[in-house]
C-alpha cells in the first residue's frame, strides 16, 4: 500500500478535485473554481501540509470552512481570495485563540478543495478529515451537530471582505440566518463554522477523507484500463446501472432545487430503468418504485467514459453514466445520524437501506 500524501501540491489538488466530484453525491458544485483557487495559492506558497488531528496543538483551533450558497453563482462571481483570512481573524478575536489548522467543511464539490487555498495563504496545514464525508445542503448536517457541538460562533465573509459573525440559539437557526444573508450578498459567500479545538474535533471529525478523495482521483487518473475497476479498488463501490440519461426534470421548492433523472440501461443493463431523485444532492435511486439506494449512502452519476462525478445541475439528457453508490460515512448510519440526514428528513417515505458495495 502506498503511503498517504503528507502535503498537497498541484498533482494532489488535481486528484483531490476529481475525488470530490466522485464522492459528492451530485452536490457541492463543480470543484473547478476551488481547484484553480488552490492551485493559484500553492503556486505562490508551495504545498500545504496535510496533517492528522493528533499532529497539531490539542488546544489550538481547527477551522472548518468553505463556500456557502450557490456554486453556480460562484463560477461567475469568483471569491476575492482574502475571505479565509478575514473569517479566521474574526473567529480568533472572538474565541481568543489562534487557528492552527484549516479543515474542509465537506468532502464533496467545491468545498473539498477551496479551503486548501485559504490554508496555503494563511501558512497553515489542512486536516485530513471533514465534517460530512460527502456533500450535504445544510449547516446542521455536519457531524459535530450529532455531538451537540454548536456551529457558532460562525463568520460569513463576502468578496468585499465584509464579515458577519453569528451567535445563534442553535444550529438550525444558524442555517436559516446564514441562508438569508447569503442571498442578500448575491447568492454565494464564504464561511467558517464549527470552530473547535483539536481535542474537541477529534470526536466528530470524519478522518482520512482527503487522503481517500486523493486516492480516488489518482486511481482514475492512472487507470490502466477501465477507470471503474481502478475506482472500485480504492473505495467500496456498488454500480447500480450503466446507461444514459433519458429525462431530467427540475423544479424549485423551498429554496432548493428538486428534481429527478431517468437513466435507461444500456449493454448488459438494457431494458432496466432507474429514477434518481435529487434535491441539490442525489438522494434516492429507485427501480420499479423500489429504493435500491438512499441517502446518506453516496449516490453519484459517474461519467461512463471518465468516471468523474456529475453534479446535479449538470445532469443532461443524453449523458452516458454509471450510477455509482458509495457507503455512507459511518456517523450518518446511526439512529442520530439518520434523524439528521436520513431519507425521511428529505421527505421520502422509505427507510435507509445500506447498499452492498464490493471493494
Amino acid at each position: 500500500m502506498k503511503a498517504p500524501p503528507t502535503e498537497l501540491g498541484p498533482l494532489e489538488l488535481g486528484d483531490l478535485s476529481v475525488g470530490c466530484t466522485v464522492l459528492a453525491g451530485g452536490g457541492g458544485g463543480d470543484p473547478r473554481v476551488g481547484l484553480l483557487m488552490a492551485l493559484h495559492a500553492v503556486s505562490k506558497t508551495g504545498p500545504v501540509p496535510l496533517v492528522q488531528l493528533e499532529d497539531i496543538d490539542p488546544d489550538g483551533l481547527v477551522l472548518p470552512s468553505g463556500m456557502i450558497g450557490a456554486p453556480t453563482v460562484m463560477v461567475e462571481k469568483i471569491p476575492n481570495g482574502a475571505e479565509g483570512r478575514v473569517i479566521r481573524s474574526a473567529l480568533e478575536a472572538r474565541l481568543g485563540k489562534p487557528v492552527v489548522a484549516m479543515m474542509c467543511l465537506e468532502m464533496g464539490g467545491i468545498n473539498g478543495v477551496l479551503p486548501v487555498a485559504w490554508a496555503a495563504n494563511a501558512g497553515l496545514p489542512i486536516v485530513d478529515g471533514d465534517l460530512m464525508g460527502r456533500a450535504f445542503p445544510e449547516v446542521q448536517m455536519c457531524t459535530p451537530h450529532l455531538h451537540g457541538i454548536s456551529a457558532w460562533p460562525c463568520a460569513i465573509a463576502d468578496e468585499r471582505l465584509q464579515v458577519i459573525t453569528y451567535e445563534t440559539r442553535d444550529n438550525v437557526w444558524l442555517e436559516r440566518l446564514v441562508r438569508n444573508t447569503v442571498s442578500t450578498l448575491g447568492g454565494c459567500a464564504c464561511a467558517g463554522l464549527y470552530p473547535m479545538t483539536a481535542i474537541e474535533a477529534a470526536g466528530p471529525t470524519i478522518r482520512g477523507t482527503l487522503t481517500t478523495a486523493i486516492s480516488v482521483g489518482e486511481a482514475i487518473r492512472t487507470a490502466p484500463e477501465d477507470p471503474f475497476d481502478s475506482l472500485g479498488s480504492v473505495v467500496p463501490l456498488a454500480c447500480l446501472l450503466t446507461g444514459k440519461v433519458t429525462a431530467v426534470e427540475r423544479r424549485t421548492e423551498g429554496g432548493f432545487v428538486r428534481g429527478s433523472a431517468t437513466i435507461e440501461g444500456t449493454g448488459v443493463d438494457g431494458g432496466r430503468s432507474l429514477t434518481i431523485e435529487f434535491q441539490n444532492e442525489n438522494l434516492v435511486a429507485l427501480e420499479d418504485g423500489e429504493a435500491l439506494a438512499t441517502v446518506p449512502d453516496i449516490i453519484t452519476l459517474l461519467d461512463s467514459h471518465t468516471a468523474h462525478g456529475i453534479v446535479t445541475e449538470h445532469i443532461r439528457y443524453g449523458q452516458r453514466v454509471v450510477v455509482g453508490v458509495f457507503p455512507a460515512p459511518e456517523p450518518w448510519t446511526s439512529e442520530r445520524g439518520l434523524a439528521v440526514v436520513g431519507p425521511r428528513v428529505f421527505g421520502y417515505e422509505v427507510d435507509y437501506q445500506p447498499v452492498h458495495a464490493s471493494s
Binding site: H40, V73, N80, G187, G270, S304, T312, R320
Partner: protein, 523 residues
C-alpha cells in the same frame, strides 16, 4: 431574377480537402467538387470555387449566397500561428482576485498572445445590481503604462450576460487611452462562467486578425470569380453568421465541421431526427440529430489547451473504419484499433496487398464492390465472419448514443459507410444518401442563422413562463441581428436550470432561436 432561379454555394475547408457544392433554390445539388486544402486561405477557396463553377452551366449571376465553413481559426490556435497580441481586462473586483485572468492557459500560448492582464473593480451581481462601481481610473492607469505593441483587447465583466454596462464603459476607456483598437466584449461571446467566458473572449481577441484574413480571402476569391453573392461563415452550432459578425466573433467558427457534416447528412435524407454515423478510414463518429440540429455535448470544450464553455456536437467515436486491421486470433476476429489509413489501396487484400482490413471483410460479405475479390480466395478464414463483430461494435456504440427507446432512422455517411449493415437494433432504417462525400459543404450551404442567450432570472417578480418567454425573445432578437428572416424564426432549444442552494427561486435559462437567411431573393 426570381427566387427560384437563385443558387447557393457551400464551401467546407477541412484539414485535408476543401469541398464545394452548388445548390439550387429547391435544394438540389447541381455541382460538387473536392480539392486539396491549401495553407493560403484565398487561393484554396478560389481553387474550389473555380472547380465547382467549371461544372456549372448556369450563369454565375444566379449565385446569391456563399457559405463558408473553415478550420482556419482552430488551426491558428492549435498551431499558435498569426495570433494577435492582446490585453485581457477583467471587470470584477473586488471579486475574483483569487484566480488571475487566463490562469489556466498553457504557458507558451499565454506567452505568444498576452501582453498584460488586469482586474479592475466593477461588474454586476446575479440580480443585476452593481457589484462595485466601475474603476475607470485604475483601468486608465494600467493601460497608460503598457509599453508593448497591442493588437486587440478582451474585456470580461462579472455577470455581463446579465448587465453588460461595465464592459461597454471599459471599452470606452480602452479607446480613449489606446486609440481605435479592436475590442472583444465577453457578453457577446460566451455564457455564464466567468473564467470560461474570459478565455473565449481572449481567444476571440487573439483571432481578430485571422478573421480579417478569412473574410478578406473569401471576399477577394468571390470577386475574382465575378461573384457578387452575400457571404456567410458557419459557426460551432451549425448555423451561419454574416461577415460583419464573423469579423467580431471569430472564435465562434471553431468546431463548425462536425455540425455541418451532421446537418448535411440529415438534409440529404430529409429527416430531422436521426442518428448520423460517419465511417472514415480509421474511426467512426456517431452523433444524434434532434430537430435538425446536432445534440450538444454537456462536457466543457478545450481549444488548444484552453477551457471554454462552448457547446459542441456530442459525438461517440470508436476505432472502426474501412482501413481497420482485422486479425484472427484465438478462434476470434480482432478488429483495429490500428488502421492502414490512406494506404488502404496499397495494403488491403482486395488491392493486392497483404493486410486484412474491414474493407476486405465487407467485400467478402458482399457489402462493398471494391478492388478485386479474387484476392480473397487465398485467405484461410472466412473474412465475412468478422462483420458480425464489427456490427456488434457499431450496435453497442449506437445504443449508448441513442436516447429514445423507439426506433429511429440512421444516416450512414463517409467513405467507409458500406460497413454499416442494413439492419441494426433500435434503428428503423439505414439511409445512404447520394453526395454523402460532400456532406460538410452541403451542411454549410443549407445552414440557418441563429441567436442565443444564457441568462438568469429571479422568479420572485415574474413567472417561470415569463422568464422562458423573455429569454426566447432575446434569442430571437439575436437571430434577427445575425441576419435571420423574422418570419422563419423558431425556438430550437430552451433549457432551464434552477440554481441550487439559494433562498429565492432563480433559474438560468438558455434559449436558442434559428431561422432561414433573410433576403433569399436576388440582390
Amino acid at each position: 431574377m426570381k427566387i427560384e432561379d437563385t443558387l447557393r454555394i457551400g464551401i467546407d475547408v477541412g484539414g485535408t480537402n476543401t469541398d464545394a457544392v452548388v445548390i439550387d433554390s429547391n435544394d438540389n445539388i447541381i455541382a460538387k467538387t473536392k480539392t486539396p486544402t491549401t495553407s493560403d486561405i484565398q487561393s484554396g477557396i478560389s481553387t474550389a470555387l473555380g472547380s465547382v463553377l467549371s461544372g456549372l452551366t448556369e450563369s454565375v449571376d444566379r449565385i446569391t449566397h456563399v457559405m463558408l465553413g473553415t478550420t482556419h481559426a482552430t488551426n491558428a490556435i492549435l498551431e499558435r500561428r498569426d495570433l494577435n497580441k492582446i490585453i485581457s481586462i477583467r471587470v470584477a473586483g473586488p471579486a475574483s482576485h483569487a484566480i488571475p485572468p487566463l490562469f489556466d492557459w498553457p504557458d507558451e500560448l499565454r506567452h505568444e498572445v498576452l501582453v498584460g492582464e488586469v482586474i479592475v473593480d466593477g461588474g454586476s451581481e446575479l440580480n443585476g445590481q452593481e457589484l462595485a462601481e466601475f474603476d475607470r481610473e485604475h483601468l486608465s492607469r494600467f493601460l497608460a503604462q503598457i509599453d508593448e505593441e497591442v493588437d486587440a483587447v478582451a474585456i470580461t465583466g462579472v455577470f455581463s450576460p446579465v448587465v453588460p454596462d461595465h464592459e461597454l464603459a471599459a471599452k470606452d476607456v480602452v479607446n480613449e487611452v489606446l486609440g481605435d483598437l479592436p475590442v472583444s466584449l465577453s457578453h457577446g461571446i460566451g455564457a455564464l462562467g466567468l473564467l470560461e467566458r474570459e478565455n473565449a473572449c481572449a481567444l476571440n481577441a487573439a483571432l481578430l486578425s485571422v478573421a480579417k484574413r478569412i473574410v478578406d480571402g473569401l471576399t477577394e476569391a468571390l470577386k475574382s470569380k465575378g461573384l457578387s453573392a452575400q457571404a456567410y461563415i458557419a459557426q460551432n452550432d451549425g448555423t451561419l453568421m454574416g461577415l460583419d459578425y464573423a469579423l467580431k466573433y471569430p472564435v465562434l467558427t471553431i468546431g463548425s465541421g462536425p455540425s455541418n457534416s451532421m446537418r448535411g447528412a440529415a438534409f440529404l435524407t430529409g429527416v430531422s431526427d436521426a442518428l448520423v454515423v460517419d465511417v472514415g478510414g480509421t474511426s467512426t463518429d456517431i452523433g444524434v440529430m434532434h430537430r435538425g440540429y446536432p445534440r450538444e455535448s454537456s462536457s466543457p470544450v478545450d481549444i488548444g489547451g484552453v477551457r471554454t464553455n462552448f457547446r459542441m456536437p456530442d459525438l461517440v467515436s470508436i476505432a472502426l473504419g474501412g482501413g481497420s486491421v482485422v486479425r484472427y486470433c484465438g478462434q476470434e476476429f480482432q478488429i483495429g484499433p490500428e488502421s492502414v489509413g490512406f494506404r488502404l489501396t496499397d495494403e488491403a487484400l482486395v488491392f493486392g496487398g497483404s493486410t486484412s482490413t474491414l474493407t476486405d471483410c465487407a467485400v467478402a460479405g458482399g457489402r462493398a464492390d471494391i478492388g478485386d475479390p479474387s484476392h480473397l480466395e487465398k485467405t484461410p478464414q472466412n473474412l465475412e465472419d468478422a462483420l458480425v463483430k464489427s456490427d456488434r461494435l457499431l450496435a453497442d456504440a449506437i445504443d449508448t448514443v441513442k436516447v429514445s427507446r423507439s426506433e429511429v432512422p440512421l444516416v450512414a455517411v463517409g467513405g467507409g459507410s458500406f460497413l454499416v449493415p442494413d439492419r441494426l437494433p433500435g434503428v428503423s432504417s439505414v439511409l445512404r444518401p447520394e453526395h454523402y462525400e460532400v456532406a460538410n459543404a452541403i451542411g454549410a450551404a443549407i445552414a440557418s442563422v441563429s441567436g442565443q442567450v444564457d441568462r438568469v432570472y429571479k422568479l420572485s417578480d415574474r413567472s417561470r413562463e415569463e422568464a422562458l418567454q423573455e429569454a426566447s425573445m432575446a434569442a430571437r432578437g439575436e437571430a434577427i441581428a445575425a441576419g435571420a428572416d423574422p418570419d422563419s424564426i423558431e425556438v430550437v432549444e430552451l433549457e432551464e436550470v434552477p440554481m441550487a442552494y439559494l433562498t429565492e427561486p432563480v433559474v438560468r435559462v438558455r434559449a436558442k432561436c434559428a431561422g432561414s437567411l433573410v433576403a433569399r431573393e436576388a440582390l
